[in-house]
Symmetry: C2
């Protein structure tokens, strides 16, 4: 079983409007609701790849109930979310015919000390059956900023590898606990290290504590810097579409490859093919299986100069 942690899960709502303009009133022509938050997306992709996935984190209020009902419909994903009094946040994407979505993200619910302790007890129980753990996304209010470091240490004490996918201070603090893999994008790498050169920034991020860095480079693929070498993986062609969830699919590719004992070049190829297949899917956050299977053997992986 692979465990994914989403402390700030969301009810993900997509509105289709004919032509979105600020300061106007719009009739929404289509409403789509999905269980949201990075770790939930990762779990859905893991399940589609044939892995048993368990999700934990927090859910509360009417929005939390709606999220759990939708999650129950996803095959292969087990709901181990911890109930809280506050309401799960909504994230709203407004999509029209042209260009990128407009995104409105509510703040998360306030997590009490009691709820946080209930979560850590639940996490300790779930670790016993886990082959790997992914810690994903932002921290809701009330959760201590150093929490990812604590969760990483507990997983390591149980000899379970951890992937950390977060940003800002939560990432910076998490690195101190030496996660096995971090998956920043180029913005997060630059924010952390001050460098906009990905290889240099990834090497620097390893120095700050991560055993391996798998950085997503958007449409150009991924770059990994590990203890045994460095690789770049690129899709065979540039793919256009909706990038929502592409990073989460990459995490699922890295984790499933890790659990299956694949080499780093193979894990990277899988992550890049899944990412690209997500960009090509008609629904945001899903991946297109035919595209994935077509791309997987054609991802170009090249060794990078061993940067000191």
């Amino acid at each position: 079983m692979i465990l994914t942690v989403t402390l700030n899960a969301a009810l993900d709502i997509t509105y289709q409007v004919p032509r979105f303009q600020p300061r106007r009133s719009h009739r929404v022509s289509e409403v789509l609701e999905r269980p949201g938050g990075k770790g939930l997306n990762v779990a859905r992709v893991l399940a589609a790849l044939g892995h048993e996935a368990v999700v934990t984190g927090f859910a509360g209020g009417g929005t939390g109930a709606a999220l759990r009902r939708l999650l129950a419909e996803v095959d292969g994903v087990t709901d181990a979310l911890v109930p809280v009094v506050g309401a799960t946040r909504r994230t709203i994407g407004v999509v029209d015919t042209g260009g990128e979505a407009t995104q409105l993200n509510e703040p998360g619910p306030l997590i009490t000390g009691t709820e946080w302790e209930e979560f850590t007890a639940c996490y300790a129980r779930l670790l016993r059956g886990a082959a790997a753990v992914a810690l994903c996304g932002s921290l809701p209010p009330g959760v201590p900023v150093g929490s990812y470091a604590r969760l990483i240490r507990e997983a390591h004490a149980a000899h379970i590898p951890v992937l950390l996918d977060t940003s800002g201070e939560a990432l910076r603090r998490g690195l101190a606990a030496r996660p096995d893999v971090v998956k920043p994008n180029t913005d997060e790498l630059a924010g952390l290290t001050g460098s906009t050169e990905p290889l240099r920034a990834a090497v620097d991020t390893r120095r700050r504590g991560a055993h391996a860095v798998a950085a997503s480079l958007g449409a150009e693929g991924m770059l990994a810097v590990t203890a045994t070498g460095a690789w770049r993986a690129a899709p065979p062609r540039r793919l256009t579409g909706n990038p929502t969830g592409a990073g989460d699919s990459a995490v699922a590719g890295l984790l499933s490859g890790l659990v299956e004992g694949e080499s780093w070049p193979d894990r990277l190829a899988r992550a890049v093919a899944l990412s690209a297949a997500t960009v090509r899917a008609p629904v945001a956050g899903e991946f297109d299986r035919a595209t994935y299977e077509e791309l997987l053997p054609r991802v170009k992986v090249s060794e990078q100069p061993a940067a000191a």
Copy 2:
């Protein structure tokens, strides 16, 4: 008791964002949820004026449950909403520091034939105790477009006066059943009659079936054309603020004045003062009582030439 009908009730969500721009991602700094839909707003103002108000219509799903929880906190308003399988729609207003809100309105739930019959039975029961009825807002999918005419006829059979506040085809069809009062704004008047001259359009609307027309003229006040005369009522000064709910407060003013046996000029003055006090309230859809009490004796009501 005054009965208000909101067939397309909504969970009304307001998002405060620092600076709203399309095609960007925004962190919402403040989330406000209220029971929404015109008839619910009318009932809240009626209750604040000391009237017993009962709301009916439809509520369903997690959003409907959230709406009912919020409604239970409003003193003086009784919830007689009919449960439905479909989910109550959300209406989202995005507010930033400058100018008007950006509004996103979901479509309503699909109402089944069985649910519609349950509603009409509930409506017939509630009519027995009602001194007046307001039929407010749009029709959700599945409700026959001629429904307001049917509801008006049933109220008249029970000798209960009816105010109709809707637009488009629902208004056009409703007029055929001769409602006691309609409250269009200038856009709705123009859509109905083709005339942008309010007095002419109001006279025309009476000819199409309404016993009285009380048209809202925005910041300029209101115009009434009735069987016994025509009046214009204007606030003593122009008031700026958030116009959300101002029309619903005007409906509450007209209805409460009707039930209390006030003259048309006094009803109009009350409606205009409540409307203006709503524009001045810090929270959208509430009214500022001090402003209301200050304005009420100072609204200027002038008789209009009896238009044939």
